[in-house]
């Protein structure tokens, strides 16, 4: 099992969700986050006063997938979230040691 963590542009969330659902993945966790990469921040002007806003709003998707689906999931996210513009985001894949479904007590892949 791997945890696929993707930081994407907020307006791409629905396309990414759809792409992952089509792979048969049944669930994900989504968080509104702020951050910056090469895109850096931007400036806002209020009554002539300029403020540098360092962090931009992004969406973080976390989904745990069976090992055999990892590459497909990553490809699906890339395909759905890509605009070609700076600020499209990043994907991180990390190993997961254990999964438990709280309601039934099932573990690992059968709990996904």
């Amino acid at each position: 099992m791997k945890l696929v963590m993707a930081i994407i542009k907020p307006f791409k969330l629905d396309e990414v969700r759809q792409a992952l659902t089509e792979l048969g993945l049944q669930g994900m966790t989504v968080t509104e986050v702020k951050g910056y990469g090469r895109q850096k921040g931007h400036t806002e002007i209020y009554r002539g006063a300029e403020y540098a806003v360092n962090f931009l709003p992004k969406i973080k998707i976390e989904v745990v997938v069976p090992a055999k689906l990892v590459d497909k999931a990553v490809d699906a996210i890339v395909a759905a979230a890509k605009t070609g513009q700076i600020g499209d985001g990043k994907i991180f894949v990390v190993p997961v040691e254990q999964t438990v479904r709280i309601r039934t007590g099932e573990t690992n892949e059968s709990a996904l």
Binding site: E44, I45, Y46, R47, G48, A49, Y51, A52, V53
Partner: protein, 446 residues
């Protein structure tokens, strides 16, 4: 604790004053009045409109101004500023009842040119049937309360200039002193029979008395207190412009009570005042938005609502005197003028007027006061402006502006020195950085 002593002192003084005022002859007077045949002829239409206007103007301060300002400060200070607006409403109500109304609207005898008298301290003589000479068709109770709402919003406007850094105890003391020493005399000068009204200064609903007055007081306070910690280097972006837009909209609606209510009658002049208020406000909002669009490349929410308030301010002195076309020009001038005052000029001079009380209210008020002298139409308000050949009216208007700037500026400065000695005016840097809400009021917005 130190502050509690002052509150106790004030309450004691008030109690003594009340005792002093209870007159053994009062019961007999009341009995005599019952047999008095001549009662003032109140007009129910006028009275109904003024009851409504009074409620509208109160709504301008709470919640209008509180929300307008609240949305513009950082989240850690939002409760402090809405508290300041609310507390000011309560404080000025009592001050106006005790002495403010008397100082502004009664005959001052030998001092009449500059200040009213003490004859209506504690609203003495205000009965069910009494009327003020300025408003013969409505009960004095309505006139007094209507004027009270004006006395409330004026000092409440100043709050925006020293947002994020004034002690609450200092605010309480400042508001009491300022209302008595600055607002009451200036209201008397223009409306209560003082020298500015006598000189022919046109100020329909209080552009001079309220906005120039509050605006210059704001500038003096902002400079006296100094800049906010981190001004120019830290992000001080508004916390929630939806609050500010809601507040600005309430101000706009309430302003119909303010301007059309200043007719003190439900008549033709009130109708025209309402129409020109709407026209000038919308025009100024668009003018600010366009200027900002050109200069900063984006039309902002804060820009359009600031423009609307600038237009409301500028049309205030003019509302009972000018026609629709005059209102259009006044709105356009206020929108562009206040935009540059609150952005370019403020940055060039380098003072930290947190929410642009000076840039919007003082500059807008001056634009409105002077343009009233240009666009006044005799057929509407009985006074000719420069366009009808009375160029001298512009000078008279400038005289009113200058007198207000000088008195309000100087007196505000002296009041600040006194307050600083008694309570200290500014919070510590630690409090400022952590936030005033949690430190001064023990509450936070989650």
């Amino acid at each position: 604790m130190k502050f509690a002593k002052y509150v106790l002192g004030a309450v004691a003084a008030l109690a003594v004053l009340t005792l002093f005022l209870i007159d053994p002859a009062l019961a007999q007077e009341a009995a005599a009045e019952v047999t008095e045949p001549a009662k003032p002829a109140f007009d129910t239409g006028d009275t109904a409109w003024m009851l409504t206007s009074t409620a509208l103007v109160l709504m301008m301060t709470i919640p209008g101004l509180a929300l307008f300002y609240g949305g513009m400060v950082r989240k850690k200070n939002i409760l402090t500023i809405v508290m300041q607006c609310f507390a000011t409403t309560c404080i000025i109500t009592v001050v106006w009842m005790v002495i403010g109304y008397s100082l502004a609207f009664t005959d001052g005898g030998g001092m009449q040119k500059y200040l009213g008298g003490m004859s209506q301290v504690m609203l003495k003589g205000m009965t069910l049937d009494s009327a003020h000479s300025l408003a013969g068709t409505i009960p004095e109770s309505v006139f007094m309360t209507f004027q009270m709402t004006f006395a409330i919003i004026t000092p409440a406007l100043i709050v925006g200039a020293f947002a994020d850094r004034m002690k609450f105890s200092a605010l309480v003391l400042f508001m009491i002193l300022w209302s008595i020493v600055v607002y009451a005399p200036i209201a008397h000068w223009v409306w209560g029979g003082g020298f500015l009204g006598g000189a022919g200064v046109l100020d329909y609903a209080g552009g001079t008395v309220l906005h120039i007055n509050a605006g210059i007081a704001g500038l003096v306070t902002a400079i006296y207190l100094g800049k906010r910690t981190g001004y120019g280097t830290e992000n001080m972006a508004p916390s929630n412009l939806v609050y500010s837009l809601t507040g600005a909209a309430l101000l706009w609606v309430g302003w119909f009570g303010f301007n059309a209510g200043s007719a003190v009658a439900a008549g033709t002049r009130a109708g025209m005042a309402m129409a020109v208020t709407q026209i000038a406000t919308a025009t100024a909002a668009l003018a600010w938005m366009l200027a900002e669009w050109l200069v900063h490349k984006k039309p902002s929410v804060l820009g359009i609502i600031s423009g609307a308030v600038a237009g409301l301010v500028a049309i205030t002195p003019a509302s009972g005197f000018v026609g629709p076309v005059g209102a259009l020009w006044i709105g356009a001038a206020a929108g562009v003028g206040c935009f540059f005052a609150a952005t370019t000029v403020k940055r060039a001079i380098g003072y930290d007027d947190s929410l642009d009380v000076f840039g919007v209210h003082c500059v807008g008020g001056i634009i409105g006061a002077i343009l009233t002298g240009v666009f006044a139409v005799e057929a509407i308000g009985g006074a000719k402006g420069a366009l009808e050949g009375n160029v001298g009216q512009i000078w008279t208007q400038i005289e009113g502006v200058a007198a207000t700037l000088i008195w309000s500026g100087l007196a505000t400065f002296v009041i600040l020195i006194v307050v600083n000695i008694i309570t200290g005016v500014r919070v510590s840097q630690a409090v400022e950085v952590e936030g005033l809400d949690i430190n001064l009021h023990g509450e936070v917005v989650p």
